[in-house]
């Protein structure tokens, strides 16, 4: 199993100063990940989702990280491919450039955005987002592999054009897609793409979903690009020596992450002021109950919080389900950066050696 870090770039109740600190802290964590042997650092693309994600220009962040690191892979995912966000040619150019400056370290993920904030701000045609994503997903690898690219489709009509530069990784960087529901996971597999999922459900559910993906991707035969057979789970994580402290800060962070996400994705609103989400520590009862419930039968594989012993047990559950990569969300809005750094170190020293980390 491989282990990576995930950057939404969250801040609870941001100020201009704390936002600047956040970016510096994330760069520091990416450098730490590079030194400690993590597989990749992933950076998302979101727009206007204040507090939940301040990572609106991942190509800039990752370029900077590329220059400050030596070996860690750069997960550019997911890029929003519908044209109102990013024209496919611009995506192909940026990913290829990042692959060149990082000497072939890019993993590319694509998605279409399901947040009303983004969909409305960029004046997208919501019913057409899926079609645009699908078409761009097919076009971009062709741009990387052909000298003169030409396309005539439902969403795009592109005259013969030389799309340059070309990526270092040949024929192209590994490609992934955002998916969390079984249907979208199946579609990613049918397209021969790696699956980027949020951790959801219990062991049986996850195992079934991974098996569905693995069966389907094995049978996929993409005509114009190389198949990526890779199932990744993204989960809120905090691992500290002191189990109680990890639970206090980790559960609070995981709850902030989930509730901030709900505010943007489930409310049907387009929040433009401070989010109405809980930011305080869990009550003593909830903390005790949530701590006890970890790794018990029926518990959800939706966060990885606790001491190294507890974390190893949780990671083993993902490994048994057949997950290829755990993308750890340690940087959560309410977790102090010093604790994130501790967690990045402790996880690398006390948990990763018990698994192979793809080495």
């Amino acid at each position: 199993m491989k282990f990576s870090l995930f950057f939404e770039m969250q801040i609870s109740q941001p100020t201009l100063e704390s936002e600047r600190h956040l970016f510096r802290a994330c760069v520091e964590q990416a450098e730490l990940a590079d030194r400690l042997g993590y597989h990749a650092v992933w950076a998302v693309e979101h727009h206007g989702l204040a507090e939940y994600s301040h990572c609106s220009a991942p190509e800039v962040f990752l370029s900077y990280v590329a220059g400050r690191t030596q070996r860690v892979r750069l997960g550019h995912g997911v890029t929003l491919t519908p044209s109102r966000y990013n024209h496919p040619i611009r995506i192909a150019e940026r990913i290829a450039t990042l692959d060149i400056v990082s000497d072939g370290r890019v993993e590319w993920g694509s998605g279409k955005s399901s947040s009303l904030v983004e969909q409305v701000a960029f004046e997208t045609e919501i019913p057409k987002l899926h079609e645009q994503w699908l078409e761009a997903q097919k076009m971009i690898p062709l741009m990387w592999q052909t000298d003169v690219f030409e396309w005539h489709g439902a969403a795009y009509d592109i005259a013969p054009t030389r799309v340059i530069p070309k990526p270092v990784q040949r024929p192209h960087p590994p490609m992934h897609a955002a998916c969390s529901k079984p249907d979208s996971t199946r579609l990613a597999a049918e397209l021969g793409l790696g699956a980027l999922n949020f951790g959801l459900g219990d062991d049986d559910y996850l195992t079934e979903k991974v098996q569905l993906y693995k069966r389907t991707v094995a049978a996929s035969k993409p005509a114009d690009y190389v198949r990526t057979d890779h199932y990744a789970c993204t989960i809120p994580t905090l691992v500290l020596q002191d189990d109680r402290k990890a639970c206090e800060y980790g559960f609070r962070g995981a709850r902030f992450f989930a509730e901030a996400m709900s505010a943007y994705y489930l409310s049907g609103d387009r929040p433009t002021s401070e989010l109405d989400v809980p930011r305080d520590f869990l009550t003593a009862d909830d903390l005790a109950e949530a701590s006890r419930f970890r790794n018990t039968p029926g518990s959800q594989l939706s966060c990885l919080v606790g001491s190294p012993d507890v974390a190893r047990e949780t990671v083993s559950r993902f490994a048994r389900a057949g997950v290829d990569e755990l993308i750890l969300i340690m940087q959560m809005g309410t977790v102090p950066n010093e604790l994130v750094n501790d967690s990045v170190r402790i996880f690398a020293e006390k948990v990763m050696p018990h698994f192979d980390n793809g080495q």
Partner: protein, 150 residues
């Protein structure tokens, strides 16, 4: 007085079942329902509990009594906890993390509870007739129209 003593989870669902029968499919803002699909069963245990289901079809949601065998998931939780969720005294994350919410089937189905509770809050804050209905409905379900303030 705790919300479990003054409120009724059954009234939450029974009102929606009635509205489903009387009006065309509701909450039909497609964007709101993006990603929600199929049938989800609810089994609320304890005082004021019962069984219901909701079905998402073409961007609309309809409610019915009892569970359905063709569901993609069944969500089980104490009726009291469901009321606390509606009253913003707990969160969906806490219900899941503490094991008070049990999920059989599709692990993404708890999002439906998040959707229902956020729409419940939203309609109380609406203007005009929708808001009047929302506050009447909240009073019927929670025994108060006052949204809690964190």
């Amino acid at each position: 007085m705790p919300v479990s003593a003054r409120g009724s989870a059954a009234r939450f669902f029974d009102t929606l079942v009635l509205v489903t029968r009387l009006t065309p499919p509701m909450l039909s803002r497609r964007a709101d329902l993006k990603g929600l699909h199929g049938v989800v069963n609810f089994q609320l245990t304890g005082a004021g509990g019962g069984s219901w289901h909701c079905r998402f079809v073409d961007g609309c949601v309809v409610f019915g009594r009892k569970t359905r065998p063709d569901s993609r998931a069944t969500l089980r939780l104490p009726a009291e906890e469901f009321l606390r969720l509606l009253a913003e005294e707990t969160t969906l994350w806490s219900l899941t993390a503490t094991g008070r919410l049990k999920v059989d089937g599709d692990g993404s189905a708890p999002m439906v509870l998040g959707f229902l509770s956020s729409q419940f809050r939203r309609i109380q804050d609406a203007d005009g007739l929708n808001g009047m209905f929302g506050r009447w409905y909240a009073n019927r379900v929670l025994g108060t129209t006052q949204r809690s303030i964190r």
